[in-house]
């Protein structure tokens, strides 16, 4: 079922917010305001957006090391993520996590993860919590094509399957794992082909086409929510930037990158689609970008205005603050 025009525009808007957030964060990274590990999601926006469009605010998602997009798509507070990247006390994790650990529990974003494949167990566990409580929340577990080779993929999906948990395993197959082409590290041509090992449905979808993603996502989420159990979904996508800043990218052809950037940009694809159907006018398009730009600018302002955490913060949050908790 095709999303309503307003819903599509909302997706379009969210993709722009992700894109502009990251472009700005990348600039800030170059300036030295953002330190640490930093992995850009640009090019893959349709995946996070296509899935999160169908999630409720009390549903859960579990991210990866490349999770700015997941955070924004799930409705996380963007200015607090920027402050997090700046390492400030106004950061969503009070500056303690940084890019690889962004999380916003107020909207069910249970955290990025510095451990590739570290999210399979926790995502499955969040889904188990829903099942035990008898609520109808759904958990979406995002992971990379590289993460698929971790043992945790196998262990957790098997359990998700035998217990029929409300969880969707979403492989963001951007075709590279750090500097290595995915095809060298598996003999399987599609991640979907691994679903039979767990006796669950598998799907593969064009991850640049947010409509396609949205459709597959909607079906899988509905199924999970109504007791139909897990689905394994591959979204074929591409990261436009290097694995992390300074990546020389000698492992892939410039033409390949160029092709994806120009022909397969999920934002441009949706834009063309909307414009062709006259669901988006030039003005509205400009307004969407302008609003996103303003939002990102104010996120930077928020981050800059926030102080670095005081030294005492080094030792807090290791354990619950007993005084505060009681």
């Amino acid at each position: 079922m095709e999303p309503a025009p307003e819903q599509l525009k909302e997706m379009y808007r969210t993709m722009w917010r992700i894109r502009l957030f990251e472009e700005e964060a990348n600039r800030q990274q170059a300036f030295g305001n953002v330190q640490g590990s930093f992995h850009m999601y640009i090019g893959e926006e349709a995946v996070a957006v296509g899935f999160c469009a169908h999630l409720r605010s009390d549903d859960y998602i579990v991210g990866t090391h490349r999770s700015h997009g997941h955070f924004i798509a799930k409705g996380g507070r963007i200015e607090r993520m920027m402050a997090e990247l700046f390492g400030r006390e106004g950061g969503i994790c009070r500056g303690k996590g940084g890019s690889m650990h962004v999380a916003d529990f107020s909207v069910g974003m249970l955290g990025a993860n510095g451990i590739v494949g570290g999210g399979f167990g926790p995502a499955t566990g969040a889904a188990l919590a829903s099942q035990l409580r008898g609520d109808d929340r759904v958990t979406v577990c995002f992971f990379g094509d590289g993460a698929m080779q971790r043992g945790t993929f196998h262990e957790a999906i098997n359990i998700g399957a035998i217990w029929n948990l409300p969880v969707i395993y979403v492989c963001e197959n951007n075709q590279y794992q750090q500097w290595i082409p995915q095809r060298r590290m598996t003999k399987v041509t599609s991640v979907r082909d691994m679903a039979p090992s767990y006796g669950i449905p598998g799907e593969s979808v064009d991850g640049q086409d947010v409509l396609a993603v949205s459709e597959v996502a909607s079906r899988a989420i509905d199924r999970a929510r109504t007791g139909g159990g897990p689905t394994l979904i591959e979204c074929v996508t591409y990261r436009f930037h290097g694995h992390s800043p300074g990546d020389l990218q000698e492992y892939r052809d410039k033409e390949e990158v160029e092709y994806w950037r120009t022909e397969r940009d999920p934002i441009q694809l949706l834009r063309t689609y909307l414009i062709e159907r006259q669901q988006l006018g030039e003005d509205e398009d400009a307004a969407i970008r302008a609003a996103a730009t303003v939002e990102i600018e104010s996120a930077v302002a928020f981050a800059e205005a926030s102080a670095f955490p005081p030294d005492e913060e080094i030792v807090t949050d290791v354990y619950v603050d007993a005084a505060a908790a009681s």
Partner: protein, 325 residues
């Protein structure tokens, strides 16, 4: 007062916590069959059929799932069949459970208990007999609890379940059958509260887990020789109640630290250091460590029986310390 085994006391505590709070559930291998691998979860499947989950042989997932369920508001009590297999789930314990609160700036809470049967038993050799408390002491964000008596098991388990941060609950297999007095109602015992299991004047013997009853046996033998030892049980290793240990060592002027993990970089090293640092001018003799040999646990029964410290070794070490000053 009624007496019961460590195993039964723990089983009772599990029953009570599950009755008290329906967010508590059990997850692990073979826990709902035959009362569980080491017969600790007897009766739970009948009493709480919906809150006990038998898993495949997937230790990383067991712990990872517990972390996720805890993040989502449940109170998982996970079991790894033998502590030796927690090696498979160290990422989940160390990088996920332990660090989540910190990495999220306090947003996340991981209120889970990880039950870890440990130590020697039944000559099951190098991969089924380890004691690994010092690894977990070294990881900020974890609590490490080592009950030594049925009563402490009964009192520490509810504390572990109610704790908002992850607790590793170490169960020395050889004391499952230990009998002891357990009141009908036991108050939860706070973490970080050492317990003086026997008062004495001459030497402080800090004893962890199964070393507690050995130290108490040694005390009786030493009494005959006119030596009066104080036996202090830290009960939790993280947090560690250094104040109580130090106060005791200051009073007696001598301290021995006994545990069943391997000597090198073991829990006895941390405890001995903590005491030494603060009692430099109070001690008549250096703090001594008594720990397992630095070897994998051998199968051959006569060898295996010599790996961890015996009552006789406690007695001898106390005498040595008395001789030294």
């Amino acid at each position: 007062m009624r007496t019961m085994t460590f195993r039964d006391a723990l089983n009772e505590a599990i029953h009570e916590e599950m009755a008290r709070d329906d967010r508590v559930f059990l997850i692990g291998e073979d826990i709902a069959t035959h009362g569980g691998n080491l017969a600790v979860t007897k009766g739970i499947p009948e009493a709480f059929p919906d809150r006990i989950r038998e898993t495949p042989i997937s230790e990383a997932a067991i712990v990872g799932i517990a972390v996720g369920a805890a993040l989502a508001g449940m109170r998982p009590v996970a079991e790894v069949m033998y502590i030796d297999f927690v090696t498979i789930a160290m990422d989940e314990v160390v990088n996920q459970a332990a660090k989540m609160r910190y990495m999220t700036g306090g947003q996340a809470s991981v209120p889970m208990v990880l039950r870890l049967p440990c130590g020697l038993a039944r000559y099951s050799a190098a991969q089924h007999c380890q004691a690994l408390e010092s690894w977990f002491m070294h990881v900020p964000g974890l609590h490490v609890v080592v009950p030594s008596t049925p009563r402490d098991a009964k009192g520490l388990f509810p504390t572990a379940v109610r704790e908002p941060d992850p607790v590793l609950f170490l169960e020395y297999k050889r004391i499952y059958s230990l009998e002891g007095e357990v009141p009908e109602a036991v108050e939860p015992i706070p973490l970080g509260a050492a317990d003086i299991k026997r008062e004495g004047e001459d030497v402080t013997v800090v004893a962890v887990g199964p070393m507690v009853s050995k130290a108490l046996e040694a005390a009786v033998l030493l009494e005959d020789e006119g030596i009066d030892i104080e036996v202090v049980d830290p009960r939790s290793l993280s947090p560690l109640d250094v104040d109580t240990l130090v106060a005791s060592a200051r009073r007696t002027g001598r301290a021995i630290i006994c545990a069943e993990d391997a000597l090198m970089a073991g829990c006895t090293a941390e405890i001995a250091c903590a005491v030494s640092e603060r009692c430099f001018t109070d001690l008549a003799a250096p703090v001594k460590r008594l720990a397992a040999l630095d070897v994998p646990v051998p199968y051959s029964p006569p060898l295996a029986d010599k790996v961890v410290p015996s009552v006789e070794q406690v007695v001898q070490t106390v005498k040595d310390v008395m001789d030294e000053g």
